[in-house]
């Protein structure tokens, strides 16, 4: 059984459907990239997968040992976070909030795991620093460490490299790839960046007038994939000129 199955989803708001008849599934260890134009409904899909809003039609099922609230989430940065007085340690620990219930404090085991995740992200020296004083790439690593505290199975990443410079972007991608390959964490990533999607993903969900879902190889053969490939090549030759 798949970890996450979406069956005949219709998404939209105020009675207007922006995505209809969306079906796809994600198995343990997959790396799914969701690509599409701005306004195609990627973020709405993300919010629905996280249970922040209800689909208009259809259903989302979780299985294979994954509970609906066990999905780690890396959000796009919001304005509130930018001037928030919070240390890296406080933020990473808050990843456990979903599982502590009414218990007012964190356990030793939770603190240990938080520290492990901080190490994994290579930000141990930033532990007591203030979040708002970090660079964009460092902030993303902090939020990724927090997401890892919330899950061991599946991560949802919303434009994880938006606003990062090329070097940091490459770092971020290899970090995510490592989590997928080494730790076996299922990745669902929303991205603008087709070339990265084609490089790392095992599966592609392309949201456009026509919806495509399949493996990367299938996508490369599909009409949408070919068009995107051509565009990309043209872009590259353009850059060379």
């Amino acid at each position: 059984m798949s970890q996450l199955t979406c069956h005949e989803l219709s998404l939209g708001y105020e009675g207007r459907e922006i995505i209809s008849h969306l079906s796809f599934h994600v198995n343990a260890g997959d790396y799914l990239c969701i690509v599409g134009e701005n306004g195609s409904g990627k973020s709405t899909l993300m919010k629905t997968l996280l249970g922040l809003r209800k689909p208009m039609k259809g259903e989302i099922l979780t299985g294979d040992g994954l509970a609906a609230r066990e999905i780690g989430y890396l959000p796009q940065q919001t304005v509130v976070q930018k001037d928030f007085p919070a240390s890296v340690w406080e933020i990473v620990l808050s990843g456990f909030q979903g599982s502590v219930g009414l218990r007012p404090f964190y356990t030793k085991a939770e603190k240990r795991t938080a520290l492990e995740n901080i190490r994994k992200m290579g930000i141990e020296d930033l532990k007591s620093r203030c979040y708002r004083e970090l660079s964009g790439g460092q902030q993303q690593r902090v939020l990724l460490a927090r997401a890892l505290c919330a899950t061991r199975k599946m991560l949802l990443l919303d434009e994880p490299v938006a606003g990062l410079d090329p070097l940091v972007t490459a770092d971020m991608y290899s970090l995510i790839d490592e989590l997928n390959k080494r730790d076996g964490i299922t990745i669902i990533m929303i991205s603008h960046d087709i070339s990265a999607a084609l490089r790392y993903a095992t599966h592609i969900l392309h949201i456009s007038d026509e919806i495509f879902f399949g493996t990367r190889a299938q996508f490369e053969e599909s009409k949408a994939g070919k068009t995107l490939y051509r565009l990309r090549k043209e872009e590259k030759s353009w850059q060379k000129c």
């Binding site: 928030f84 240390s87 909030q97 979903g98 502590v100 007591s128």
Partner: protein, 284 residues
């Protein structure tokens, strides 16, 4: 100076001065705790609106002639807090407009009622006391003192119990919600705590000035400190310090206690801002 001290010790011989001092400090402590959350969640305006609602409710209670007007003021303020929070997230009337409507409406109704059914010969004095706090903290009754003390202890205990949850809901509500924190319930708890703080704070500084008691210490602490815990601790200490100073000063110089406390909070904010500017200036 020596004369001031003898003056003060004479005051503190009186039990009700001691009680009032303790209550003042407790209220200031409670008010400062949720300041960070209020400021960062952009809830400051709700605090302001609620205090006006509490004023209206106070007027209604006075007209109805209840012996303990908290029986009306507390539930009305809590219900308003919950309603404002709900409308803040999804409503046809935008959050801040709704707050403006409710708060101005409550002010008008309150003032109207107090004038139509005056409970004492000095209406403007009553209004002034409700808006700007007891002109002297000594006019608090023993009943009010106990009421405030018990509620303050409850607020502080609730804050400690929910500290990490308040942090996670304030820092990133979507993440909290997505990973299974009952963000809605915690927002509700935050709203109820704010309402309670506002009602008990009205006794000390009045409904117009209570927002200052909530927001100033947090804003001051945020100039200098960088983690949620240090900001919270600093604003609590700062608030307790400023209110003690304010109460003592108001006893000595016979000034209105609410205004004196708020002015000492403002001074602290000025000092902290200066230090903050100085520190970043040095670093750059």
């Amino acid at each position: 100076m020596a004369e001031m001290l003898t003056n003060l010790s004479a005051y503190f011989e009186l039990p009700f001065v001691r009680y009032a001092f303790i209550v003042g400090v407790l209220i200031a402590l409670c008010a400062s705790l949720l300041g960070v959350t209020l400021v960062l969640k952009r809830f400051s305006f709700i605090g302001d609106g609620l205090s006006h609602v509490a004023f209206g409710a106070m007027a209604v209670a006075a007209v109805v002639g209840l012996t303990n007007n908290m029986l009306i003021v507390m539930p009305v303020t809590i219900i308003s807090a919950v309603l404002l929070l709900k409308t803040g997230s999804n409503a046809k009337i935008k959050g801040d407009a709704a707050v403006a409507m409710i708060s101005v409406g409550a002010l008008a109704v309150g003032y109207m009622l107090m004038n139509l059914h005056p409970t004492s010969s000095n209406v403007s004095g009553d209004v002034c006391t409700t808006l700007f706090g007891s002109t002297s903290i000594l006019t608090l009754t023993e009943e009010e003192v106990w009421f405030c003390a018990v509620l303050s202890v409850i607020v502080v205990a609730a804050f400690f119990f929910f500290y990490h949850k308040i942090f996670s809901v304030t820092f990133d509500e979507n993440f909290a919600r997505a990973t299974g924190t009952r963000a809605g319930s915690y927002n509700l708890i935050i709203a109820v705590i704010i309402a309670v703080i506002i009602v008990i704070g009205m006794n000390l500084v009045g409904s117009l000035l209570i927002s200052a008691l909530i927001i100033f210490p947090a804003l001051s602490a945020m100039r200098l400190f960088k983690s949620f815990r240090s900001v919270t601790i600093c604003s609590a200490i700062l608030s307790v310090g400023c209110s003690s100073l304010g109460i003592l000063a108001s006893l000595l110089f016979n000034t209105p206690v609410g205004a004196t406390i708020v002015i000492s909070d403002m001074l602290a904010f000025g000092i902290f801002s200066l230090i903050g500017v100085f520190k970043t200036g040095l670093r750059d």
